[in-house]
Subunit: 249 residues, 2 copies
Amino acid sequence: MNQVIETILQHRSIRRFENRPLTDEQIRTIVECAQAASTSSYVQAYSIIGVKDPEKKRKLAELAGNQSYVEHNGHFFVFCADFHRHELIGELEGKDVLPSLESTEKFMVALIDTALAAQNAAIAAESMGLGICYIGGLRNNLPEVCQLLNIPKRVIPLFGLAVGYPAQTPDPKPRLPFEHVYHEDEYNQDRARFLEQLQRYNETVSAYYEQRTNGRRRDTWTGQMADTLSRQVRMYMKEFVEGKGFNLR
Amino acid sequence: MNQVIETILQHRSIRRFENRPLTDEQIRTIVECAQAASTSSYVQAYSIIGVKDPEKKRKLAELAGNQSYVEHNGHFFVFCADFHRHELIGELEGKDVLPSLESTEKFMVALIDTALAAQNAAIAAESMGLGICYIGGLRNNLPEVCQLLNIPKRVIPLFGLAVGYPAQTPDPKPRLPFEHVYHEDEYNQDRARFLEQLQRYNETVSAYYEQRTNGRRRDTWTGQMADTLSRQVRMYMKEFVEGKGFNLR
């Protein structure tokens, strides 16, 4: 196993960091690694905002649902889907790019581009001995995040990435069985097989929680998912992304 | 610079592969690396289909716009956003999860989850001496891709990933200037600065193409983007993803 695979397989989210900022050189390396990711037709449809201002970090932590590690970390990145520059390019080159930029296809392109870049950043940071945590909680209140970070039209903050020196060492969380996620030649729709795999995975997840909490918690994965997904959260999102000029046609 | 950062920065897409299949062990490692990526609220909203059947690969290559490297490679993965299992879980646990699964928020979650996993797969493969190329061309005709791979409702193939032993060594493509992509504390909307950066980048990109083509090609990035984005492609996508049960509310 090489160092890359080792780094990837050792991933666990870190939610407590030392009070030690990243250097500008570390930040630059992480961003350059993000930029090295593949990008659909070379569009590079993302921007990254690094937040250092303590007051802004405090406010973001609050907006993300009082997650202290959004405020206290080595550096906080906000990854944004971004067609703002492409709109300017349309003007500059005298071409009508808006119908394309506003399509659901390009919404998908921007999301995928941004996520590929972010994962490179995450892996690069982890390879430097840093820990990371993605912060989807930023999407709780994107209008306020946009205001706080002066984010223009055609730019959507998708998630944060808290990075820093780990002050905890949680265990990696067990993933779905390989056979459940990986299909060969076609999607295997065999329901009985599927349910058996989920049952087996529930046992793995229960054992994981039981061990971590000295027996106080015995969640199953399917129970957790049903609870989470029966709550309707961030239902303003469709209107919000449309207002930003995405996903319109 | 450690091996991880080196691997990430050396990325270039490979579009010609040796005729040498990946081993099952290599495939398993790549998929397990994909699964180790962060996932929003633990939902793991993706599946991966590995295509070995030569006839299916030939057909996928054709659907992707006659890209030969979709047919000829070491292995071909199709990365799918997937809430099929979550719908079953709702039935199993007696909870109504559909309004949540059908939201634009969860559409974004599934796309981001899938892309994070895919980028882990890409980096893992590259660390093993393999080359990769993302295949967005699969989205040219998703209804046929779904039929070919027996893909159910609430599953959308997002892109392919061709992996194999490289039979070419292209140069990495230059990325946007660091300062153009990375903002500090807020999004810098200074238009003059923005245009100056794009101008500088155009020169870099032109020089790259000129050198690669012995002077036959001198594209600028903004010119390329304006051309690409003034074409409306895959405009069926909104209707298609809604038909699959995503992005509805």
